[in-house]
Symmetry: C2
Subunit: 242 residues, 2 copies
């Protein structure tokens, strides 16, 4: 929204079936295709798959169904990490499904074949972020337990491979130390989206931007949790029935 202030965003949160991170690739793919169909019906000109788990396991299936450009979060994150690392050691943290898929590993090997890759699933990070426990002793102890071995691996770059993890930026940074750069896919995905829109001549050059939130459960909890991420911009959301 900051990178593309003139665009009209349609956001779908599958709150009735989330979280995806502990579900199988098959189930996440099935849900992803249903979500895609909803957004295609809305007539979108470009589709951002803004969930790391969905991007990891279902990007090809989504792109097959979409006639417009599709931007995932894995390639932009992997590319940013490949550019960032000096000692050629990169870590990846994400949900169980994202780590099991190997999607970041494949993308990193494409952008930087010589890089050593260390991965770790951190399932508790999502419920901690949703509970708002991002800077207390429990968040800190959890980060130490998950990241202890990663810290020993000598990486200089760590991909935060899940939408929720940037909320834990502070404690993850404390545990990893000041020499490890944390890469958040969000910024590089926004950059890629700008580039694709410009290249395809799809960017909107005038008018005010807007955002509409759609969810698959009642909006209350989405608004509460969404404000942790986007602040006051999440004022209301519309439930879609399935």
């Amino acid at each position: 929204m900051r990178a593309l202030p003139r665009e009209q965003f349609i956001y779908l949160g599958d709150t009735g079936r989330y979280p995806y991170g502990s579900k199988s690739a098959e189930t996440v793919s099935r849900y992803s295709i249903e979500n895609t169909e909803f957004l295609l019906d809305k007539g979108v000109k470009l589709l951002v798959v803004a969930c790391n788990t969905m991007s990891s396991v279902a990007l090809d299936a989504i792109a097959e169904r979409a006639a417009m450009p599709v931007v995932g979060v894995i390639d932009p994150g992997a590319q940013a990490a490949a550019r960032s690392t000096r000692n050629r050691r990169v870590g990846v943290i994400g949900t169980e499904a994202t780590v099991a898929s190997g999607a970041y590993t494949r993308a990193l090997r494409r952008f930087a074949p010589d890089v050593e890759i260390y991965t770790r699933a951190c399932p508790l990070f999502v419920p901690l972020a949703e509970e708002g426990w991002v800077d207390n002793d429990i968040a800190r102890a959890t980060a130490r337990l998950y990241l202890g071995s990663l810290r020993q691996s000598g990486i200089d770059t760590l991909i935060l491979g899940c939408t929720h993890y940037p909320l834990l930026h502070q404690v993850i940074g404390e545990v990893m130390g000041p020499k490890v750069r944390l890469v958040d896919s969000a910024a590089s995905t926004a950059r890629t989206t700008c580039e694709v829109l410009a290249r395809e001549g799809l960017a909107r050059s005038r008018g005010a931007g807007s955002v509409s939130f759609f969810v698959t459960d009642v909006p209350d909890r989405f608004i509460k949790v969404g404000q942790r991420f986007l602040g006051e911009q999440v004022q209301s959301a519309v439930r879609i029935e399935r």
Copy 2:
């Protein structure tokens, strides 16, 4: 299974859409009715709604659709707590949806109108139990944070109002102290189920028992997590497609 060794159990775990505890009453009710229809198709003679969240928000909707007896977990748990308390102060912990529903409060008032009731949602307990972190420093710190005020309230009985919480029995007991009795709905629900089967003449008096597990996502993770609860009895499960 221990209480009714001759019965044939059909278990459905909605792993493709769980956890229910952070979802709305409307969404949980819709899923509950779909789950019920699957079990009715299997020709069950009695239905146990073995999830506290489902029991809290959807028991009436389920009972309306079922011609056979339906046993929830709220009444048996509340009844056991009403019998257990000496000082007439009872605590209830559960998911956000269970606590918000007020189902335990209503049931306790029915069985013991004079009881003071204290409730607290503990959302992190489910992911902790699934991660297997039931007896480490993080589980202990989380229990202290959630249960600190409950401990001050002077309760002598605490209902573990979620299927996952008995796995954290040890740390919950440590935080609450030896004078607080922990009530697990499972044992009293099994007792109620025996009574209903006997009363209705539905109990099976001979033959060997059995159990079949059905899930709505691929079985791998269910088998892994299920073994934390039931040990080696969870060897395989069948996925149902929807």
